[in-house]
Subunit: 553 residues, 2 copies
Amino acid sequence: MTTEKVRLIPLGGLGEVGKNMMVVEYGDDIIIIDSGVMFPDDEMFGVDLVIPDTSYLADKKDRIRGILITHGHEDHVGGLPYILPMLDFPPVYATRLTHGLISVKLKEHRLLDKAVINVVSPEDHVELGRCTAEFFRVNHSIPDAVGIVIRTPLGVVIHTGDYKFDYTPIDGKPADLGMLGRLGNEGVLVMMGDSTRVESPGYTPSERVINDSLDKIFANAPGRVIVATFASLISRVQQVIDTAVRYDRRVALVGRSMQNNVQMAIELGYLDVPPSTLIRPEDINKFDPEQIVVICTGSQGEPTSALTRIANKDHRLVRIQPGDTVILSATPVPGNEKMVHRTINNLFRLGAEVYYQGLSHVHVSGHGAQEELKLMLSLLRPRYFVPIHGEYRQLILHAKLAHSLGIPDDNIMVAEDGDIIEISSEGIKHTGHTATGNVYVDGLSVGDVGQIVLRDRKVLSQDGILMAVLTVDKETGQPIAGPDIVSRGFVYMRDAEELLESARERVLESFVDLNGHGSDWSFVKDKIKDTLSEFLYERTRRRPMILPVVMEV
Amino acid sequence: MTTEKVRLIPLGGLGEVGKNMMVVEYGDDIIIIDSGVMFPDDEMFGVDLVIPDTSYLADKKDRIRGILITHGHEDHVGGLPYILPMLDFPPVYATRLTHGLISVKLKEHRLLDKAVINVVSPEDHVELGRCTAEFFRVNHSIPDAVGIVIRTPLGVVIHTGDYKFDYTPIDGKPADLGMLGRLGNEGVLVMMGDSTRVESPGYTPSERVINDSLDKIFANAPGRVIVATFASLISRVQQVIDTAVRYDRRVALVGRSMQNNVQMAIELGYLDVPPSTLIRPEDINKFDPEQIVVICTGSQGEPTSALTRIANKDHRLVRIQPGDTVILSATPVPGNEKMVHRTINNLFRLGAEVYYQGLSHVHVSGHGAQEELKLMLSLLRPRYFVPIHGEYRQLILHAKLAHSLGIPDDNIMVAEDGDIIEISSEGIKHTGHTATGNVYVDGLSVGDVGQIVLRDRKVLSQDGILMAVLTVDKETGQPIAGPDIVSRGFVYMRDAEELLESARERVLESFVDLNGHGSDWSFVKDKIKDTLSEFLYERTRRRPMILPVVMEV
């Protein structure tokens, strides 16, 4: 039975954090799990978003049976508006709230008509070629998160999605331990497990512990309470609303994504808000400060978010006043620390009392810590294990954790994006590698910004640019106008006249000794470039990009 | 006695982390404490270093009695090579190891002949005009760190420097509690206290706790042990050497600053190394792996450091081999997390076992936590308190901490760089503000890179640049050559021919309807700029810098 193979091809999220996307193949059937984006890091100058490279799928579109979505976070659904058209709109399967969030996103991209999005619930079975998919409830920092079961003729394939175990979640729906136990008894061929928090020992505390902190802060707040959190963290919004009701306060939602998400969560029944609790942000000042709670976006210090504007005295409706208490109910995503700290500093400067993670217990993670990862592995007892969702060190540590629970090293596969993993009756092995990497979204275009453009942006960002422009006579090959020297981001031109004048002279000297290369303009340009580069480095120890332009008349 | 005033003018380190510099004035006498640098953040494109703005001192050079240095870290001494010449080389006072580190630095800048650096010890009294300075030993992550006492006729001024209390330090020299107690009994007018770790409850553990972790890791290491730490963290180097000796291993030092610092520490008697323990890095392979320890730089993932090169398979002498154990004995400085994680990922990829803070207890901070800050305040019992060394939120939290110990709010001054603080018999008050901010060192020049250059670098980094160059006839005002369109960092030019061709046409169209502005080139250039800007944004949703160049012949 050499054809009996399951292949796993991670296109994103393995060896990195973000743009999660996993391809599962059995025979002719291809099933995709998640299509996320990654936010650009400091080296990806000017890039808006990063999506997975899906060129592996380009010639296999007709074999794609569906895209299964674990939950509605950007790193799992944000790639859909770009990837669905590339793949000729295969059907998408998602739980109810996730479906809502995807629909909003596709509508913004004017793709809602073309896309096929099916709502699924944990009881459903979805036929996908010769495979069937099921879903099991997990806890995460957004409602309606699920893990995925794919039944293939070779055995059961499980993808945990992002998860933690919360025995007392705010929405009353703990992870489905019963189904996980049943799957483990049935026998699991391979489990792909979230590695995000493998470096943390113990358990991630229940969302419920936040209640105590909120209670204490609300009890002592002399004026308004302003809470910033993730717009998708509906359970936190519920906790703040519950606390507000207990303390007889009204709630205003500030920030577009907070308003949209809460609206949708109420409509779909994921949020329980007593009547007349919500007020319009415009009406905040009609109430006494001690009657007000503001829930807003900006917990990551994002430049245009509500909280950042408030901290910068730049918000249309909310200005910090004496007695205000601000809670940042989130931890900074790695890379956002400086922006978050800037926001906190500014809020303190305006006289607010500020509570944030580290000082107070105002946030818990949405990912399971070591003991929870062990619980998942122990419930499912998979034959093969593939750690997913994490940088390389996290995948390795998750592999060691699995090994410590008795899974043999030969049955554990640490893989990265693009690796082709094959599982057969003979074991699990790495059989090849496919195209992989970052596809950049910049403005309207997807994929046209590559390494050359990014490298230029980097050089430009370091020492700027200097252009030498001149017009030469076609006949004599000698300059008749210019050189004009123009620079940006190199020196402050008004203070550097002598330097730029000397540069001009160097350019003219380049024309003296051309050794018969008189009208070989690429030779002349190279010579100008070298001369200027050397001269400017010697004088300034900087290396601006140098761009000679020669025009013939 | 209206002339009896002490003035404190922080020029760096208050409201930010880094470039610490404090001016203390009594009458005509000016005393400076520290002259540090700050490393540029992501927004300071291409900048090498940041130093304090010392323009406040420009017309007061003759009143400067000396610069007192608390310890040899870059954020306290790194500004000296730039600031000493600006201030006509006032005398510098530093403890022995700090003196050694400053000397190396000034030698590199060829300033050693001109500078006057005096070695002081905690027993010394230094006359500085009508004031006297003394020094008290504190614990910090570098040997020979001191706090500073300035006796003015109005009272005792204390600057803690960076500190923690370690009762069992590796070098056997705990902070001088006796002297602090005596100063408290005597009466302290004002204390300026380090706020770096005010957000952490409890005590910072003793350096000694690291011994257990090192012991455990060495006991289980099957091959070489490679330890990366700060080159100035001499006590950590001592601990690694002691552990190496216990496990019968030789030690090789890798990385220039590690070699230089250890060399100096040995010569000055700050490190105790048994004979024949050290070997040359070139000789590593002459020993069995289990006989080797490498101590190297690169714990912050700095691109050109030893550990980063090792992790990138790019080091001349050290290559990771199976069985290697790597310890990162440091925590990432905020902003360095990504680089450190990249290094750890790469080391795991090469098959090393990697231990780092969070997973193992391999580092402790050099700054005191809340209980230590309380201890310092309780020993000194100052009348006035000024929190220093920290971002605004940290200064505020330190002020609250001091208040909780009974210092009245009116006696606590939260100030930021450039604030002028005056202390007299009437109290402490804020009397003004002086020039302050960042002075950028970029290449050879200090201070010429300002906001305009940085703003241009930022724009260039986002969407690149597009130039439109053309030659026009002086008489007719019409183009006779060009427009040539050249772009960098905007689009990949080879793929964007149609776009650039359209841009060229737009430029030519700008010449059609000039309404008599035919030879008003700044009008023409503005028109080209606006036309192109609008066209390119519409087509690409990007906003490259646009630079029209018009040459007349």
